[in-house]
Amino acid sequence: MSENKIKNGEQDAKSEELIDFAVTARKYKTLLTTKYKERKPWVNPNPYDIQSSIPGTIIKILVKEKQIVKEGEPILILEAMKMQNRIEMPFTARIKKINVSEGEKIPKEFLMIELAPADEK
């Protein structure tokens, strides 16, 4: 902004752009920032979803769909930043669906494998 700009109190926000914005119990009329509008809403993590914590390439898939895999067993090798990361089973469960293939490049937070309880058919 130039140092000389004087608005003399003219409202620069058109009233129709103002939204109701709740901070605690009261709602305020205000504008949102681009960054606020583009923020990611929080999603509760589903323990049955195996997501990538870093972007990279799937080097090897060590399990098959419908297979029951024990806690701690390796299921995938994900290469990221020149390191081969072994992705392990978080708990004993059945492999419900594999959403990646070997050689595939994936972004961060990509749903690589979906699990199901071991006793579920």
Partner: protein, 514 residues
């Protein structure tokens, strides 16, 4: 005559080196919409004030065919000059010379002028336009960067340091600007990133343009890495000149005083702020109504606009304004706004600039993203910066001052020298609705008409507590004032604070929650 011949030879030698990368490279530079390095310096400094040093410095690299490669000035121009009469040190990387790449000698020219600035106690301005490290020089280039960063850190808080990004500034090169006090960017010209689009695509498969990754707008609005954003180099230079006129040469001085002028702002200050605390207004209007000549140089205008920071003058002397901005996000504090305010407060404190805080804020921004981004750690920076500051500190509570926000915004408890409040100010632990819901929960729940009871209790709470008089009765507010008195009182407060002498316990340095 020999001397005449010698002078002629010198002139020829200079003319060759001053051409930088030569006509073709300069043409290319201009075609990209950029000024050549030398012209940039001349456009920024007072006419005929620039004096160049180290014009004949040459690199000493012998590998990769560099031994027979001449690089005029080693790709950077350094010197001293004045801006509106104020002395400064300056360097400008010359993109026409091997892409402005940084080799050891290039870096040593920069560190030499930085050392000079620090010794002479004058500001240092760096114009960045470089493809990055000169790969042929290997570790020499890295050493060069490191030596610059070290000096940026040594000079921090001693002399003002200004970075102007007028081209690419990528990889390690970005950390010098990041260590300086103010970063200027220009639309379509500035590009800053740690890893560029090519690397990101190769490693992660994410495709993004340079502009979207680290263009001027991104750094001015999203990352906050840039403090000033301009649409042209010319506008950018005007911004720098204005800034330099408002800040001192070093931490041992005060910014130059100018003849004071009354605010030009026409609207009455008491009519700017709606009495309904839910309605917004532009707090910059309040600053216009208070500042000399209604002039205000806003820092970080686009980033975290829910808080406004910048420089103005009161009675001809520079002050820093920190103001909550109800127009954006209701004026809450969040991670970005906290970082923005804390950094600005620390600059003002380091350079003897009094701080005027204008408060109207409902609290902190609620949200999982904020909590997980560390709003505790970020918010604490504001407390730290205000508490640590020993310059004169005054606060005017315009409307709302709730809870943690009341404490954070330069409250008496953090060492404010003067606390003023307008008569409509609501100083309370939280908004009346929330407070009434908790305190009178039982009465409200047991009432036949819950809503009516709630409204009655909210009203009671506002009358009893959401006003400035409870705080004033305890001496936390020094004076409840009429809005139209604000400027006069602030001028007076500044006047009587001139010899403020405040000390902090001796220590090597504090450990703020960076």
């Amino acid at each position: 005559m020999t001397l005449k011949k010698n002078v002629e030879a010198l002139r020829q030698k200079k003319a060759i080196v001053e051409k930088g990368g030569g006509d073709k490279a300069i043409e290319k530079q201009v075609a990209m919409g950029k000024l050549p390095a030398r012209e940039r310096i001349l456009a920024l400094l007072d006419p005929d004030s620039f004096h160049e040093y180290d014009l004949f410095v040459e690199h000493e690299e012998r590998n990769f065919g560099m031994d027979n490669k001449a690089l005029p000035g080693d790709g950077v121009i350094t010197g001293t000059g004045t801006i509106n009469g104020a002395p400064i040190c300056i360097y400008a990387q010359d993109f026409t010379v091997m892409g402005g790449s940084l080799g050891l000698k290039h870096a040593r020219k920069i560190t030499k002028i930085m050392d000079h600035a620090l010794k002479m106690k004058i500001p240092c301005i760096g114009i960045n336009d470089s493809g990055g490290a000169r790969i042929q020089e290997g570790i020499g280039a890295l050493a060069g960067y490191g030596e610059i960063f070290y000096r940026n850190t040594m000079a921090s808080g001693v002399i003002p340091q200004i970075s102007v990004i007028l081209g690419p500034c990528a990889g390690g090169a970005v950390y010098s600007p990041a260590l300086t006090d103010f970063v200027f960017v220009v639309e379509n010209i500035s590009k800053m990133f740690i890893t560029g689009p090519n690397v990101i695509e190769t490693v992660l498969g994410e495709k993004i343009s340079q502009e979207n990754l680290g263009g001027a707008r991104v750094h001015a609005e999203i990352t906050g890495n840039a403090h000033f954003y301009a649409l042209s180099e010319k506008e950018c230079f005007e911004q720098i000149k204005t800034l330099v006129s408002l800040i001192p040469h070093s931490n041992e001085e005060k910014a130059a005083r100018i003849e004071p002028k009354k605010p030009r702002f026409k609207k009455k200050i008491e009519n700017i702020i709606p009495s309904d605390p839910k309605q917004p207004y532009d707090v910059r209007d309040v600053i216009s109504a208070l500042a000399d000549d209604s002039k205000f140089l806003e820092v970080h205008e686009l980033w975290a606009p829910n808080i406004v920071v910048g420089f103005g003058r009161m009675n001809g002397e520079t002050v820093g304004f920190v103001a909550n901005q109800p127009l954006y996000l209701a004026g809450v504090l969040d991670c970005d706004a906290s970082d923005k305010a804390a950094r600005f407060i620390r600059f003002c404190d380091a350079f003897n600039i009094p701080i005027i805080t204008l408060e109207d804020m409902p609290g902190y921004l609620p949200g999982v993203d904020q909590e997980h981004a560390g709003v505790i750690r970020h918010g604490a920076k504001v407390l730290y910066a205000y508490s640590e500051a020993t310059v004169p500190k005054m606060t005017v509570i315009l409307r709302k001052a709730y809870g943690g926000g009341y404490i954070a915004m330069n409250s008496r408890h953090l060492g404010a020298d003067f606390m003023f409040a307008w008569p409509g100010a609501e100083i309370a632990v939280m908004g009346p609705e929330g407070a009434a819901n908790i305190i009178f929960r039982k009465e409200i729940m047991e009432a036949e008409d819950e809503d009516a009871m709630r409204q009655q209790k909210v009203k009671e709470y506002i009358e009893k507590f959401a006003n400035p008089y409870v705080a004033a009765s305890k001496g936390y507010i020094d004076a409840v004032i009429e809005p139209q008195e604000t400027r006069e009182l602030l001028l007076h407060a500044l006047e009587v604070s001139k010899n403020k002498d405040d000390h902090r316990p001796a220590k090597k340095h504090g450990i703020p929650p960076f």
